[in-house]
Symmetry: C2
Subunit: 354 residues, 2 copies
C-alpha cells in the first residue's frame, strides 16, 4: 500500500489539528522521553507545564489559573464533567446527576456520560446556537454542570455564554466552556467567551488545535485549584502528591511544544493566523456561493457547504481529506495549513468533479 | 532556575520510561502532527496502529489481537474496567459492580474505580504476590473483573495468572492482566503471563516502558474485538465508525514509534535488554547486600532496598531521581538507560552519603 506522507497537509481540510509551529516541533523533539505525569522525576517538564497553564490562563482571561495539559479536548471535557459530578457527590451525596449540554456539543460529552455514569440532556439550537430558554427547561436541582461551546465543531458558532453561566449559577451548578478549537481565535473577536466575561468554572482550550502545538496537547483550565481537588488520587511510588489527571503518563512533548508555540505566537502570531483564516473562510464562502452552493455563513473560520454527497466521495477519492456535518454538509476547517492556494486547488477539483 | 536537560537520563532511577530507541525517536518526529483518533483523516498512522496491535499481540501470545495504542497504562487499565462494567450492565443490567484487584495493583485502578463508579476490592498478598484464596473470598456474583499483575510497580512480581484467570471464569467475570511494565521482559522468562498461558480477556502492555518507544505509547490488548464493542461512541464529523478509546485525540508519534521500536527490537533486541537489566538487578542486589542493606530479591529487573529515609533524601539532593515503595524502600527500576556505570556511580554516592 502506498501511504500518504504524514507530514503532507496539502489536502487535509477536515482536521482541527495542523502543522506545528517550528519552535513547537523543536521543543517537542527535545521532550519525547519525558512524562509530566511523574513530576518528581521529570521536574523540568513539570515546571514547563506550570508555564503552559499560566499562559493558557492569560489567553482565557484568568490570572492564577489552575489546570493541566491534557491529551486533548476529550480528556478535558470528561474531566470537567468529573469535577462537577464529584463536587456534587462530595457536597450533598448526589447520586443521580445530570449534565445539560447543547445539541452542538462534541461527542466527547456522550463519552463522558457513559464513562462517568451521568445523564446527558441535550438542549436544542436556534440558528446553530444554544436556545437558553430550552436549556433552562432541562436544568434542575440534579444538574451538576451546564456546558456552553465557544466554537462548535460543525459550524464554528459561539453559544450565549454569559446567559448560560448565569443559568448554571442559578442552579448552583458548575459552568464549563468548550473552547477546544475556538480558544486561540476568540481573543481576536468581540464574543464574550472567557473567564472575565462570565462566571465560568472550567474551560477546554487546546494548544494542539489553533494553538499550533504538536499532538497531543489539550488544555483544561479551572478558575481555582480547589475545583480540581475532587479528582485527586493518591500516588504511591511517585514523589508527588495526588494525581488529578484522567490519564497517568502524559506527553512531555505536548507540554513543551505548547509553551514554545504560545511564546512564539501570543498574541501577534495568533492574531495574524486568525485573521488569515477568517479571510480565507469568507473568500471560500463567496466562491462557493457564486457557484450556487448553499453555505452556512461562517462566524469563525469554519465553512460548511451543501455539496452533493456523491461529489464529496469523488473529492475523497482524489485524496482530499474532507468530512461532513451531521446534516451532510461538506465541512472545511480553516487551519493555518489551509492556504488560499490550497483552497484554489480544491475549487478546481470541485469544479471538475461536481 | 537551572533546569535539568530533559534528555539526560544519567540519574533517573525511578522511572518506568526510558531513552527511546533511535528508530522510535525518528518515527515519532515524522508523526508529531498526526492523530490516530481521526483515522479517516490520518490514514497512514491508522494503518500503523493496526501493525502496532498485531505486533503487541505477537509479543503477548495473541493472534488476531484487538486493541489500541493508549496514552499509557492508566488509560488501558481504566478501559479494561470500563469494558467489564459495560459488558455486565448490557448483559444483565448490573448496577452495583465490583472489581477485585491485588493490593499490589497500580493506583490507576483506584482512579478507575472513582471515574467509573465501581467498587474496588483489594486482595492481600503473600510474599509480594496475590493470595488467590483471599482473592476468591472477595469475588462474588457482582464481580465484573478480576485483575492480575505481571510485573508489579513496586517489586516487579508476577501474580499466579492462570489461577486468577480460572477464578474469574468461575464467576463469569473478565480477567485483565496488567503487564504495562513487564510485558516486554516476561517473554524471556518462564512465567505464565500471556493470552496463550491463561484465558485472560484484556491486557495492558506499554511500548513506552520496556518497549523503548517514546512517550505516550501505552497498549490495550483484547482477545477479541467484541470485547471493545461496549465502549463504542458515535463519532459524527469523523469519517470513521464509533470510537472506543477513552481519550479522543491520540499521539501519532507514540503509535509510529511503537511500531518502529518493535520492528527494531523484537525479539532479539528485547531479549538482550531484558538479560542486561536482569544482570544489573542481580549485580546491584549483591552490591547492596554486601553493604548490609536488606534487598527484596528481584525476580524481574527491579530492585527494592531498605535504605534509610534520610539517605534517600540526600541522594535526591544530589540529583538522583529515586522513589520509594509504600513500605519506604528505595526502588530502582532497571530500565535500558540504567547502565552498570550509572549504578557504580550511584553506589559511590550512596557510600559517601549514608
Amino acid at each position: 500500500m502506498q501511504r500518504a506522507d504524514p507530514q503532507d497537509f496539502a489536502r487535509v481540510l477536515s482536521s482541527m489539528c495542523t502543522i506545528p509551529h517550528p519552535e513547537a516541533r523543536a521543543a517537542a523533539q527535545r521532550f519525547l522521553a519525558t512524562n509530566p505525569g511523574d513530576p518528581g522525576t521529570y521536574e523540568t517538564v513539570a515546571a514547563l507545564e506550570e508555564e503552559a497553564i499560566e499562559m493558557l490562563g492569560r489567553i482565557a482571561g484568568l490570572s492564577d489559573a489552575a489546570g493541566y495539559v491534557a491529551s486533548g479536548g476529550t480528556e478535558a471535557n470528561i474531566q470537567a464533567v468529573r469535577i462537577a459530578r464529584n463536587r456534587a457527590r462530595n457536597r450533598d451525596g448526589s447520586t443521580d446527576p445530570n449534565v445539560v449540554v447543547p445539541e452542538s456539543a462534541h461527542f466527547s460529552f456522550t463519552k463522558a456520560a457513559d464513562v462517568l455514569g451521568v445523564e446527558l440532556r441535550r438542549a436544542p439550537l436556534t440558528d446553530y446556537r444554544t436556545d437558553v430558554d430550552a436549556m433552562a427547561e432541562l436544568t434542575d436541582e440534579q444538574t451538576v454542570l451546564v456546558v456552553a461551546v465557544a466554537g462548535t465543531t460543525e459550524y464554528g458558532r459561539v453559544d450565549p455564554i454569559p446567559e448560560i453561566a448565569a443559568l448554571a449559577k442559578a442552579h448552583d451548578a458548575l459552568c464549563h466552556v468548550d473552547a477546544a478549537w475556538g480558544g486561540f481565535v476568540l481573543p481576536f473577536t468581540d464574543y464574550d467567551w472567557n473567564f472575565e466575561h462570565a462566571p465560568i468554572d472550567t474551560m477546554t482550550i487546546d494548544p494542539h488545535k489553533m494553538g499550533q502545538a504538536v499532538v497531543p496537547a489539550g488544555g483544561l483550565l479551572a478558575r481555582s485549584s480547589e475545583l480540581l481537588d475532587p479528582l485527586a488520587i493518591d500516588t504511591p511510588y511517585l514523589e508527588s502528591t495526588g494525581q488529578v489527571t484522567l490519564t497517568g503518563t502524559r506527553s512531555g512533548a505536548g507540554v513543551a511544544s505548547a509553551v514554545a508555540a504560545m511564546e512564539a505566537l501570543w498574541p501577534d502570531g495568533y492574531r495574524t493566523a486568525a485573521r488569515t483564516a477568517q479571510d480565507n473562510a469568507e473568500w471560500l464562502t463567496a466562491a462557493l456561493t457564486e457557484r450556487g452552493y448553499d453555505v452556512v455563513s461562517p462566524v469563525l473560520p469554519l465553512v460548511a457547504a451543501d455539496i452533493p454527497r456523491a461529489t464529496i466521495e469523488k473529492l475523497r477519492d482524489h485524496n482530499w481529506r474532507v468530512s461532513k456535518t451531521g446534516a451532510g454538509e461538506l465541512r472545511i476547517v480553516m487551519m493555518p495549513h489551509v492556504t488560499r492556494e490550497i483552497l484554489r486547488s480544491f475549487l478546481d477539483d470541485l469544479d471538475r468533479l461536481d
